[in-house]
Amino acid sequence: MKRLFALTVLLLSAVATAQEVRLPDYERVVLDNGVVLLLAEKHEVPLVGLQAVVRGGTAADPTERAGMASLLAALLEKGAGDRDAASFAEAAAAVGGHISTDAETESIMVIADFLSRDAELMIELVADMLLRPTLSEDEFLKEQQRAIALLQAAKGSNPRALIGSYGRAFLFGDHPYGNPPYGSEASLAQITHEELVQHYANHFGGDRLIVSVVGDFDIAAMRTRLTDAFGKWGPAGSPLTPVETIGPLSGRRVLLVDKPGSAQSYFLIGNISVAIDYPQRAELQLANTLFGGRFTSTLMTALRTEGGLTYHASSSVSRHSAAGSMFIHSYTQTATTVEALDLAIEKLGELHRRGVDEDMLASARNYIMGQFPPTLEPASSLANLFAFLEANGLDRSYIDAYGAALDAATPVTVHNAVSEVYPLVDDLVIILIGDAAAIRESMTKYGPVTEVSITEPRFRVYQ
């Protein structure tokens, strides 16, 4: 009887919850000056999340000035409107609000999360940061020194955090996507205060701005308030130049970053890949989920679960407007560097040769659909998603049609995507941070090796 009751409860609830993933409704308003507002109410908790996106980002850093966008983003918080750096920080913290900034490849973002009773103040602070940042020379010099020192600290305490900067620089070279996101010690040191102020004038303006706000507020009042705050902002000083497309590299090459005495080797293996508009997105995500996107992925199983070589192994495909990058990420103790590299490359070869089968696809599909709803839960995540769609010229079908696209994928279409997204084993770029004295010799079998010291103040290596 008890079991029967349990079964009934389960059946009923399964029917009640069987539903497609669908993006919540939101309002999109384009102001006269080009600012795009994205608004949605969400009332479960008394919070408001805001995300402001200024198109541009690290890809717009001037030549030899990598880190400009990152430095500018950090300086937005160091005084704005009538407040100096100290009182600006105090104003947000005093009400328990969070404000942070971030420079991404093709945007600079301001992220704010406040109690709803303080939404007015939040908008005032964000508008001041974007429209009226102080950008004082004094704060600039401090932030510049601090940014350089943070890179030096990471070289000692967290080498894994730097491998992405080496990876982009080695993969994309002088292309804008090769800019290390936080700059290098050398490129940061070259930036002048005057250049930074000019960069702000060139790249900040109403025509570049998206403001996405979700949370516990009245949508009409919020629209009015945001229109007042951002509706009169003039355009940026220069137009946004589209990034040039770039294709994958041929052959193999190795960058060895020497960190003497390093207990482990940290590595990336990959190549240039597809852009944001790649049509087989569902197939791509299915393939990557299976190859290196979850705990039971091929890479984790081979390198960690069965191999005991590492704690972590994964793969990712980052896509931007003009191109993307595909990388395998892992690390292992110095003595097993070759074993781990060989195994990762072997698994990439197998992915191309064997593809995936129906059972694997069904599992990956369930996983992607099962893990998606929580990403819509907090107001700030939802604000982020709306802004992401807008910034990349996508509409709500990107989410709403996704379930159907996952269902439609077959082993054949996924295999096609694999050959378009993942490099062949003969065309690989390998980036490795480790103890060169111990592994230098054995790296030559992977291709021509370029070696630099981790103490070099730059990430770009000119061959």
């Binding site: 349990a6 918080e77 947000a92 328990g96 020192a149 943070l150 979850r294 679960t305 996983y367 709803p373």
Partner: protein, 561 residues
């Protein structure tokens, strides 16, 4: 007459048989009471001991005494012609037959009858903790939250939230570095890895494969106090997840080959977090230096020689002892109802066997007697690190929330005192943080400073001490207090905007403060805190003789004359 014949004549053998069958029945009944109504497992053990002691006594009694029509007499004194031992023997036979029938009936009945499931009831709390807050009338506990305890002692808390068709499951095993000793440090963390590596009916990897195929993801973490397992899954995977969890909690296979592979993964994790990280190394050494006696001195990941050496027996003992239902608290938040969770936990988790509670960790770190210092040289340290720690309280201490606010004022965010002074104004540091490592026992108030390249470490330390001294002497301002309160109030709401945050918060409050309802007292408790209370805590904690200083820097350059 042979001894054996005499034993038979005096009914000693029948008494022995009767005693054995009766004892078996008594133990059977008590075991069922232990599982069924939460009787302490100690009762069963004591009864076994009593029965064992009673056995020879009964036999000797049977040998020495005899029933006669006039009563009990010594067998030696009884006239053999008047003996009625055969009648007594018949009675004993009858009793034996009755007991045997009862026993057989019980065993058969157990197989045939529906499982015995008395209504859930509260039993003795094995881990009594004093509540951190008084649950005042102003604390609004959402009515939809319910909790119950399975008869085997497993505590279950359910917070239904039907916003998205997903569920977050957290379960807290009261096992962490705190429960370890030299030789097995790191075993709680290692065990967290082993929980993903196969059961008697599932191969290594099957747990994750089945969960991910059903749309679920999972993770786990180990702290100095607890090991926490987390599953995030669509509602449709609820039964799959409970079956998987029930299986690994009951039937974990600790395969020696898998143990060896997993050691490799843990060694790699340690190399990344400690050997290749200046900050990680300094942090580990800080706990080793700040604690003389308490096991908080050991790193969660374990000392390298222990990682290399723990044995199969160590692992099996650890599993039996700590992975018992009465040592676990389980929290569900999301698209579920309490009824279905009760039915499913009853189905998949009620067969877990209650165990003796693990031995209590009774040691208290003795008061620190004077400042301690240590210094580490690292050739490639371009930015020196300065870590400073003070002994503070446990989570259940009322002062812990006060110190939390104090640390927010001193070291959290760009408006904090240390950031303003040492990072912005004086350029001595590039990053500061101040955190508290509270748990079941007294933790540390821990300041971590990354200094600017070339900064004078001694000056930075002096400035840190001055800033802390200023808090002790002058206290905090009303606006600082208001800021700290608001930071925590906003954090409270941020934590409750996701099912993941809800499960985590309920579980942590239940385990560390003794009652999940204390979570909802946070807003009222925050508004009652005064600046004087904060100053008093500062004076109590920030004392030189309660302080440990750790420095990591590059060796001084060799000077050439």
């Amino acid at each position: 007459m042979s001894l054996f014949s005499e034993l038979r004549r005096r009914n000693v053998i029948k008494v022995a048989l009767l005693y054995a069958v009766a004892s078996w029945l008594v133990v059977w009944i008590i075991d069922h009471l232990v599982d069924g109504v939460g009787l302490s497992p100690w009762v069963s053990d004591y009864m076994l001991l009593l029965l064992a002691i009673g056995f020879p006594v009964a036999l000797i009694f049977a040998w020495v005494y005899e029933f006669t029509p006039t009563g009990l007499q010594k067998a030696a004194d009884v006239d053999q012609t008047q003996s009625i031992v055969y009648k007594t023997g018949q009675k004993l036979n009858a009793a034996l037959a009755v007991l045997a029938v009862l026993g057989v009936a019980a065993v058969i009945g157990e197989q045939l009858l529906p499982e015995f499931t008395p209504p859930p009831r509260e039993t003795l709390e094995e881990f009594p903790l004093k509540p951190v807050f008084d649950v005042s009338a102003s604390a609004e506990v959402p009515r939809e939250i319910t909790s119950f305890k399975l008869p085997n002692g497993l505590k279950v808390i359910v917070w239904p939230d039907h916003d998205i068709p997903n569920v977050a499951l957290y379960y807290f095993v009261r096992a962490g570095a705190r429960n370890e000793y030299p030789g097995i440090t790191g075993i709680a963390h290692f065990f967290e890895h082993m929980m993903f590596n196969g059961t008697t009916s599932r191969d290594q990897g099957d747990f994750d494969r089945e969960m991910e195929a059903a749309g679920g993801a999972n993770n786990a973490y180990t702290s100095k106090d607890v090991t926490v397992y987390m599953d995030w899954f669509p509602k449709s995977a609820l039964e799959t997840v409970l079956e998987l969890e029930g299986d690994r909690l009951a039937n974990l296979a600790i395969d020696p080959d898998v143990v060896e592979t997993e050691r490799g993964a843990v060694v790699s994790e340690r190399r990344e977090g400690v050997d290749d990280s200046h900050a990680g190394l300094l942090h580990e050494q800080m706990y080793a230096n700040a604690y003389l006696a308490h096991p908080y001195q050991n790193p969660v990941i374990g000392w390298p020689s222990d990682i290399a050496n723990w044995t199969q027996d160590d692992l099996e003992n650890f599993y039996r002892r700590f992975y018992a239902p009465n040592n676990i608290t389980m929290v569900f938040a999301g698209d579920v109802t309490p009824e279905e969770i009760y039915l499913l936990t009853d189905q998949y988790l009620s067969s877990l066997k209650r165990q003796h509670p693990p031995e209590a960790v009774t040691i208290t770190e003795p008061p620190q007697r004077g400042e301690r210092r240590f210094a580490i040289e690292a050739a490639d340290a371009q930015t020196p690190l300065l870590h400073v720690a003070f002994h503070a309280g446990a989570t259940s201490d009322p002062e812990t929330l006060l110190l939390d606010l104090l640390l927010a004022i001193i070291a959290e965010g760009d408006s904090s005192r240390l950031h303003r002074a040492l990072v912005e104004e004086e350029g001595l540091a590039i990053r500061v943080s101040g955190r508290q490592s509270d748990g079941f026992d007294s933790g540390l108030a821990y300041f971590a400073l990354t200094l600017a390249p070339g900064a004078d470490i001694a000056v930075a330390e002096t400035r840190l001490r001055e800033e802390l001294g200023r808090v002790v002497a002058d206290g905090v301002t009303p606006s600082e207090l208001a800021k700290a309160r608001n930071l925590r109030l906003a954090a409270f709401w941020r934590g409750l905007q996701t099912i993941n945050g809800k499960a985590s918060a309920l579980g942590n409050f239940e385990v560390f403060t003794g009652d999940y309802e204390n979570l909802f007292a946070v807003p009222a408790r925050l508004s009652a805190i005064t600046a004087e209370e904060l100053q008093a805590v500062a004076a109590k904690v920030f004392r030189d003789d309660n302080m440990t200083v750790g420095i990591l820097s590059a060796p001084a350059p060799e000077t050439s004359e």
